[in-house]
Subunit: 281 residues, 2 copies
C-alpha cells in the first residue's frame, strides 16, 4: 500500500505531459502503446499463443506516421484550400491495414495457430487503437480541456472505489473475477467520478455545461466504462495465468495495470466530444 501511494506521487509529474499536450503527449502515447502492447502480447505468450510483435509495433508506427502525414498535409495544403485526408479517414485506413496484416500473418499455416492471429489483432485494437483517442481528444479544437477528464474519471473512479470499498464494502461485485471488489466500492467510484468531474467542470469548463444533466450523466456512465475497463483487464490476466501485466511501476504492476480504465475512458470521452457535444453548441 505504501509503495503504491509513493509510486502514484512519483508519477504525478507525468501529468505535465498532459498539460503540455501536442508532441509531448503524442510521444507519451506512442511509448505507452509500445510498452502496453508488449505487456499484452507477453500475457498471451504465457497462455501458449504467439502473437506477432513485429506487426503490432509496425501498426503503432503506421498509425502515428499517418497522423503526422495528415497533419503536414493539412498544414501545407490547408491554406491553398487543397485536399488533405482527415484524421478519421486515416484512422480507418490504419484499421484496415492492421486487420489485413494480422490476418495475413496466419498464412504460414504450419507455424501459426488461429489464436496467434486473433490475439495479434486484438492487442492492436485494445491497446494501440484505444490509446490513440487520447491524441484525438488533445487535438480536438473546441474540447481540448476535456483531456483532463479522461484521468479525472479514470483515476477518480479508482481512488474513490478503493477507499469506499475499504470502508463500506460488504457485498461482493464479481467474486470469480476480482474477489476484492465490492458493490459499495463500485458505487463509490461512480460518485467519485461525478464529484471530481463536476468540480473540474465548474472551474475549467463552461460552468453552465458542467452543471448540466448531460455532463453529470457523462461522468456517471464514464465511471461505469472505467470499471468495465478494469474488469476486462482482470479477465484477460486471469485467463493468461498472470497476476500483473508487468512490474514497471512498483505497487501498480505494468502500464496496462495502471491504464486499464484509461484505455476504455479515452474513446468513450472522445465520442462524447465528437458526437454528443456538438449537437448542443
Amino acid at each position: 500500500m505504501k509503495t503504491r501511494i509513493i509510486s502514484a506521487i512519483i508519477m504525478l509529474p507525468l501529468l505535465l505531459l498532459v498539460y503540455f499536450g501536442g508532441i509531448w503527449l503524442k510521444l507519451a502515447c506512442i511509448a505507452i502503446s509500445f510498452i502496453g502492447l508488449k505487456e499484452f502480447y507477453d500475457g498471451f505468450r504465457n497462455e501458449g499463443a504467439q502473437p506477432c510483435y513485429i506487426i503490432g509495433y509496425c501498426s503503432i508506427i503506421l498509425l502515428y506516421v499517418l497522423h503526422f502525414a495528415g497533419m503536414s498535409l493539412e498544414y501545407f495544403n490547408g491554406g491553398a484550400g487543397q485536399y488533405a485526408p482527415g484524421r478519421e479517414t486515416l484512422a480507418l485506413l490504419w484499421a484496415f491495414v492492421s486487420v489485413a496484416a494480422s490476418l495475413i500473418y496466419g498464412m504460414d499455416v504450419e507455424k501459426r495457430k488461429n489464436l496467434d492471429v486473433v490475439s495479434t489483432l486484438t492487442g492492436i485494437f485494445y491497446v494501440v487503437f484505444f490509446v490513440y483517442f487520447v491524441v484525438l481528444i488533445d487535438e480536438s479544437e473546441y474540447a481540448h480541456n476535456y483531456i483532463w477528464l479522461i484521468f479525472i474519471i479514470a483515476f477518480g473512479t479508482d481512488i474513490f472505489a478503493y477507499f469506499s470499498g475499504m470502508l463500506l464494502g460488504k457485498h461482493k461485485l464479481c467474486p470469480n473475477l476480482s474477489p476484492k471488489k465490492t458493490v459499495e466500492g463500485a458505487v463509490g467510484g461512480v460518485i467519485g467520478s461525478m464529484v471530481f468531474s463536476v468540480l473540474f467542470g465548474v472551474f475549467f469548463l463552461a460552468q453552465g455545461h458542467a452543471l448540466s444533466i448531460r455532463f453529470i450523466i457523462m461522468a456517471c456512465i464514464g465511471s461505469v466504462v472505467a470499471q468495465l475497463g478494469d474488469l476486462t483487464a482482470s479477465a484477460f490476466k486471469r485467463k493468461m495465468g498472470i497476476k500483473d501485466y508487468g512490474n514497471l511501476i512498483p505497487g501498480h504492476g505494468g502500464i496496462l495495470d495502471r491504464f486499464d480504465s484509461v484505455l476504455f475512458v479515452a474513446p468513450y470521452l472522445y465520442f462524447y466530444i465528437a458526437v454528443i457535444l456538438p449537437m448542443f453548441i
Copy 2:
C-alpha cells in the same frame, strides 16, 4: 466445375443490386454480413472456440443503425447548417463499441476462454467492418461508379487466375496453404485485373484517368490484395479444419468462400478513392 459455372451465372442478376445501389445494396451488405459472420463463427466453433454470435449480430445492427441515423441527421440538419456526425466518426464509434463489447464478453471467466473473446472480435472486423466499405464506396459523391471495380478486380483476378493457372501453371505458389495455386495463376490474375479495370475505366470513368499510371497500379495492387484475401480465408479454414465456410452456393461453398477477395478489395478501393484520388482532382 459445371455446377460452379452454372451457379456463377445464376448469381449474375445479383449484380443488379450493385447497379441499383442505395438501400438495395445496403440490404445486401447487411445480409452478407449476417451470413458471413455466422459462417466465420461456425468455423471457429469447429476449432473448439465459442465466439459470441449475439455480440457479432448486434454489432452489425449497430453499424447500420448508426449509418442510417447519421444519414437522417445530415438530411434534416444539413439544410440548416447544423451539426451531424460524419460517416467516419460513426464508424470509429462503432469500432470502439464493438471492441469493448467483445472484451467485456470475456468477463465471465469461468466460461469464456480468451480465444472466445478474440475470435468474436476478429469476426466483427474481418467480416462486418470490411463489408461496410462497399456501402461507403456506394455513397461516395464523386466516385460512385468505382463500386463496380470491387467486383471487376476481385472476380477478374479469380477468373483469370483460374484459367491461366489451369493452362500454364507449373510452379506452386504456396503448396502448404493452397496446393492447387500456381505462380502462373497469380500473375495471370494480376494481368486480368489490370485488363478488365482499364477496359471498364475507358468506358465508364474519365478516360484519361483510366489510362493513367496510378489507375493501372491501383488495379495491379488490387489484384494482389484480392489474392491475399483469398489465401487468408484458406488459412483460416485450414486451421479450423473445414474445407468450405458453407454450402450456400453450390460449387462455390459459403458466402465467405465467394466473397473472400471482395472483403479485402472493398476497403482497399475505398482508401484509393478517399485518400489518393482527391489529391489529383
